[in-house]
């Protein structure tokens, strides 16, 4: 399923939540929407889900406008979690799947596989309120994907999960991707997006700052620097062609390179003269890129995240 947003704009009470946002999510990829809290991620997702309607612009699924049929083909895990507390696990899963147009028969055939996978089988007939928070999260994840949606939208998926469960769910997502499902993933934790996504779109204050393939984004915004960890005297590196500046650290040196400098030549030269233990072209983190490109003061980003913790 291919998803396209064309110049989406949404204004709430005079405040622009999303402004002129265009993006394209190809079939079978993991696409990350990243940005600080309040950037417009959830609003964007709500518009894709047809929960709120954009003031202008349009949303296309496989080149066609949103239709009723789309609701059955999408799985949505909202940022704010919740399930019916008084219903049993089986009842909840059954209900949510039927709401997506699946038959009770279908649910019976598939529920055990997922409960098993998520280590919830023994709680099958318990009420939701008896589960721990982490278990409820996993249960909600099951309800999001049990009906085999073509597009899966996960808003802040990992918040509140322990590392073991994060690993578990990450593997499920990678499996889903291999099955050709399209996954739209939103987070304010850049490291998560960095590990999981094929494509990313950074938004800040409702506007797109940058988007594209993760590797390309990183290459494009690379600082163009090299870290070398070596035995022997490395003082000569500062005089190599293309090296603009050298910073010495305790265990390694970092070279800032000129634009278009030949990195392989440098490796060859260095390797000929000393023993190289590590040679690494340093990729900037998404966080660095974001701070750089969105021209945000890092303290402001942190404040935004802290703010979220209190909401």
């Amino acid at each position: 399923m291919r998803l396209q947003l064309e110049s989406i704009r949404k204004v709430y009470d005079g405040k622009v939540a999303v402004d002129d946002l265009s993006l394209e999510v190809l079939e079978g990829v993991i696409y990350g929407i990243i940005g600080p809290n309040g950037a417009g991620k959830t609003t964007t997702i709500r518009m894709i889900m047809n929960i709120t309607i954009p003031d202008s612009g349009q949303i296309l699924i496989d080149d066609a406008p949103l239709s009723q049929d789309f609701k059955n083909r999408v799985g949505y895990l909202p940022e704010e979690r919740g399930l019916y507390k008084k219903m049993t696990l089986v009842e909840v899963v059954q209900y949510m799947a039927e709401m997506k147009g699946k038959s009770p028969h279908y649910v019976r055939d598939h529920i055990d596989y997922w409960l098993e996978l998520m280590n919830l089988q023994e709680y099958k007939s318990r009420k939701v309120e008896e589960l721990s928070k982490g278990m409820q999260q996993k249960l909600q994840f099951i309800t999001t994907i049990l009906h085999e949606p073509d597009l899966i939208i996960l808003d802040e998926l990992f918040s509140g999960l322990d590392p073991l469960n994060i690993e578990l769910i990450k593997n499920v997502i990678l499996d889903l991707k291999r099955d050709g499902k399209t996954i739209l993933f939103s987070t304010h934790v850049m490291e998560q997006a960095e590990k999981l996504c094929d494509y990313i779109c950074m938004i800040s204050s409702g506007r797109k700052v940058i988007d594209g393939k993760l590797s390309e984004v990183k290459a494009k915004f690379g600082k163009n620097s090299v870290q070398i960890d070596m035995d022997g005297n490395g003082a000569f590196v500062s005089s190599l062609p293309g090296v603009r500046n050298v910073t010495e650290f305790n265990n390694y040196v970092e070279l800032d390179m000129d634009e278009g400098a030949n990195v392989s030549e440098i490796l060859k030269t260095v390797a000929n003269r000393v023993k190289v233990r590590r040679f690494e072209i340093v990729e900037p983190s998404l966080y660095d890129i974001f701070i750089d490109v969105a021209r945000i003061d890092p303290s402001e980003y942190n404040r935004a995240e802290e703010g979220e913790a209190h909401v």
Binding site: R46, M49, N50, I51, T52, K71, N72, V74, Y76, L77, P78, E80, R81, G82, L83, Y84, K85, K86, Y95, M96, E98, M99, K100, G101, S103, T143
Partner: protein, 436 residues
């Protein structure tokens, strides 16, 4: 399967599968019977202890003694022991005001010490001054007051009779002036006694009130639960808000219908044992009246739809049940109005005030139903376009139109309200959503 039915099924099962549903079905009629029967039973219960009293007679006609003899007609449960035990009769002349005060004070003391239950003062010139006599007691007992009044009236009448020199025996004059019970029949031939009408109305309206109010609030709670637990966002990504609202309202409506149906069956069983209760057979004219039955079903359904959509609207704009109570309060007032006005309506079922009130949509289901029961029409008596049936039909049409309007407004507010957290919207904001 259509998603409406998925929601319908869940809402229905959530209520009907609960133990409280069964308990409610059994307990509610028991409570209703309890509330109506126990007070009546208590009131009719005879006392088992003789009640002590004293009399101060200032009339000078031996009225105290006669009063005491007159009271002997009242017996306790065993029909042999006297109900009242006159412990003392104080004949005090009009002029002895000092002695009267001493006796009066000591009798008051006796009452406070619970040695006496009452004392009666027959005043000077009691036969001439109706207000001269009175009784003193700490227990408000209507029966004693009525009995003492009756006895004293007879004695004073006899005194007046003697004074007037009419040559007739006291007993014959009293028998000439006795009171009768005026029976009442209506123009249709036989009559339905007031009590039967009133209690039928209370039961019919009570069921209606309980069902509309109880299940209407369940609709509200269900919306609040989904809002609070944030399931709403997932639901709305699967179905339209309108489908969700309708599934809830109609699913819980079906639960209401189930409960009333079970009561009707239980009631039919109880009715078959009618012989063992002392119930006037005229109740058949209400229970088996097709007009009443039809309007009960119609008003129940339309009333439920009207109020439950209103409750759904409230559920969508509030954040907690506590907040919702502010809105539930005025609805309760509207719904209990027919109970408060019941006595007026039963006396004037066709007055302009009754007619106008019963045509206000939110009052119609209960108020109009009450009038239909009081008039207890038959199909041959009125056409669909005149009389009480005509008015009730008009009321029903108005309620149905209001239901459509209510659904329209609620669906507009609902779709915005259910995704709003935190601040409760103001009225202007809600109006904006309606036009949106």
């Amino acid at each position: 399967m259509s998603k409406f039915w998925v929601i319908f099924k869940r809402e229905y099962a959530q209520v009907v599968k609960k133990k409280s549903f069964i308990v409610g079905i059994v307990l509610t009629p028991l409570l209703m019977i309890g509330f109506s029967v126990i007070p009546a039973w208590l009131a009719s219960k005879k006392a088992s202890d003789t009640e002590p009293l004293a009399v101060i007679d200032r009339s000078g006609y031996d009225s105290g003694l006669k009063f005491s003899q007159s009271l002997e007609r009242y017996k306790l449960d065993d029909d042999s022991t006297a109900y009242y035990d006159v412990r003392g009769i104080f004949d005090i002349d009009d002029s002895e005001s000092e002695r009267y005060q001493i006796v009066y004070d000591s009798l008051v003391q006796c009452i406070n010490d619970q040695q006496l239950k009452y004392f009666v003062v027959i005043g000077p010139d009691a036969q001439l001054v109706d207000t001269a006599s009175f009784m003193v007691t700490n227990s408000d007992n209507f029966r004693a007051n009525r009995r003492f009044g009756d006895c004293l009236s007879e004695i004073l009448s006899a005194i007046r009779l003697q004074e007037s020199k009419v040559n007739l025996g006291v007993d014959s004059v009293l028998s000439l002036t006795r009171q009768i019970d005026l029976a009442q029949k209506d123009a249709k031939g036989d009559s339905i006694p007031f009590e039967i009408k009133y209690f039928s109305a209370i039961i019919f309206i009570g069921i209606m009130f309980g069902m509309i109010f109880g299940y209407g609030q369940l609709v509200m709670r269900s919306v609040i639960e989904e809002k609070n637990s944030r399931i709403m966002e997932v639901l709305i990504s699967s179905v339209s808000p309108f489908q969700l609202m309708l599934g809830k309202v109609i699913g819980l409506g079906a639960a209401t219908f189930t409960q009333v149906s079970i009561w009707v069956i239980l009631g039919a069983g109880l009715y078959s044992m009618k012989g063992s209760f002392d119930i006037d057979s005229s109740i058949d004219r209400i229970l088996f009246n097709p007009v009443i039955a039809a309007f009960f079903v119609f008003f129940m359904m339309s009333g439920y739809l009207l109020f439950s959509t209103l409750f759904a609207l409230i559920g969508s704009i509030v954040n907690s049940e506590k907040e919702a109570q502010n809105f539930v309060m005025p609805i309760t007032m509207i719904m209990i109005l027919p109970f408060m006005l019941g006595i007026y309506i039963i006396q004037n079922p066709n007055s302009t005030a009754s007619t106008v009130l019963s045509l206000i949509p939110f009052l119609t289901p209960t108020m109009m139903m009450m009038r239909v029961i009081f008039v207890a029409p038959t199909l041959t008596e009125y056409s669909l376009f005149s009389g009480i049936i005509g008015e009730a039909t008009l009321g029903l049409v108005l309620v149905c139109l209001s239901v459509l309007g209510m659904i329209w407004i609620t669906s507009k507010v609902f779709r915005v309200g259910i995704l709003m957290y935190g601040k409760r919207p103001t009225l202007p904001e809600i109006l904006k959503w309606v036009r949106y």
